[in-house]
Symmetry: C2
Subunit: 282 residues, 2 copies
């Protein structure tokens, strides 16, 4: 039983889909971030793939509307017109139908009929090349996290380097998951700075190395969460590691960016562009 709408929630927003709801959520959330002062309670309704489930969905939409005293916003990617009609017939809400808005104009432009097939975008394509690439990329990335293995680096699409906690692991995983890219990552550690050389496995692969840096203040904060009051987390130590890492990357001609104010998505999208990586999976 959801709690009543608090004064900070202006609306309940439903993301309705015949599949996972990821497309509806991604677009809906992007659009809603354009309304700075709107607070909303998100509700996912995935796998609405029959008229019966559509009627259940509209009942839930109506309950929320009655409870809130305001009609809900519904972002829908329902594809089947019968299912979509069954939802709309019963519900008092503001509907944003993503497919309706775009599929019909595209039919005219392409001179093709759309299939109106449910849940296609994340659907049964588990045997596809595409999907295998992605699982392979995830496995590769896990096996090559944090310099675990120098073996197989030749198979990497990109190798991220940077000091501990500069964002290498989440970025590598995101690259694998979202883009199907095999992303290894290698830490730059104080011993490397003393030797004044890249870790020995790396110089052969310079064309696919990409560096992550971070502000010393932010790094100290992140490291403090992991090991409070350690030398590892001390601002002075963070500053000297970062300086040494940036000096090394500059000297070796390694491209890099600062992750300080960037989300994983932004770091990953920038790397895709800079290293000119091709997406291997949808």
């Amino acid at each position: 039983m959801p709690e009543p709408l608090s004064p900070t929630h202006d609306r309940t927003v439903f993301f309705v889909s015949d599949g996972t709801g990821i497309t509806a959520e991604t677009l809906g959330h992007s659009v809603l971030t354009q309304f700075e002062h709107l607070r909303y309670r998100p509700q996912r309704l995935p796998f609405v793939d029959s008229a019966d489930k559509a009627r259940e969905a509209s009942a839930r939409i109506n309950e929320a509307g009655v409870r809130d005293g305001k009609r809900p916003i519904v972002f829908s990617t329902l594809v089947d017109p019968t299912v979509s009609a069954a939802m709309r017939a019963g519900a008092e809400a503001f509907f944003i139908e993503m497919f309706e808005a775009f599929v019909e104009p595209l039919e005219r432009e392409l001179g093709l009929q759309s299939t109106h097939t449910i849940g296609r975008s994340h659907a049964i394509r588990v045997n596809s090349e595409d999907y295998k690439n992605r699982i392979e990329a995830i496995n590769f990335t896990l096996a090559h996290d944090d310099g675990q293995s120098a073996k197989g680096l030749a198979g990497a699409d990109v190798i991220l380097v940077g000091v501990s906690r500069s964002g290498k692991t989440p970025t590598s995983l995101y690259l694998a998951m979202q883009y199907g890219v095999k992303a290894a990552n290698y830490p730059l550690i104080p011993e490397d700075f003393e030797r004044g050389q890249l870790p020995t496995a790396l110089p052969h692969h310079k064309d696919k190395i990409f560096g992550l840096s971070i502000s010393p203040e932010r790094l100290a904060e992140v490291r403090h969460e992991r090991r409070p009051n350690s030398r590892y987390a001390a601002l002075e130590n963070c500053r000297s590691e970062i300086e040494a890492a940036e000096r090394m990357m500059r000297r070796e001609g390694i491209r890099w960016l600062s992750s300080t104010t960037k989300s994983i998505e932004e770091i990953a999208a920038t790397i895709m562009q800079e290293v000119r990586l091709e997406r291997r999976s949808y």
Copy 2:
């Protein structure tokens, strides 16, 4: 220099954004999967956040159109009307402007002005609670992959169980990355079946256990890729492990699904719904 459009590519499709381009790609790809017979060459143009970059974008769009002999399709999430106008002024293409289509009607519905702010959806919110939840979830999931650690299972939102290669690791990582959910995973191994009991760490956490199963044929295929011609991958062995795992899950009252024909997104969305997990991060 992209190769010329092959006969299997009917169009070049651009995903243009002032941010990462992920929203444009996600929606665009979803919409295009509705056209079964369309083959297209996707081109990402992220970080188009000035009129100058918009003009560069339209030059690239026009090059593709001339090369293909067909005008490109452009999915755009450009927010700034000046930038958007600069792109459209120069380019001969079929434009699908996602924000224009939805933001204005929403302004009227909400009685709020949109901010027309660039790249908000994946933008600088690195210090937000939301974002911290997500990084924490990724770290938790990595530390609790494949039964690595029984410590801290109390902090898990969900614990996936299943035989080796049933899809636990990619699903756990996806749950962490996409939904900010702390997902541990634990293998069910022949020793557990012999003892006839769940791994000892698990019975305390039964309310948050979710099982993954898979068809023996598919499992044998996946395991053969990893260890060809091993006993581990033999169909007979896969069949007996799966039967034992399903028997155990049934006896213990553990909810489970078969991952055989499902994508990671579908498995994850189903788990979110079944375990009634709340999204912790956008």
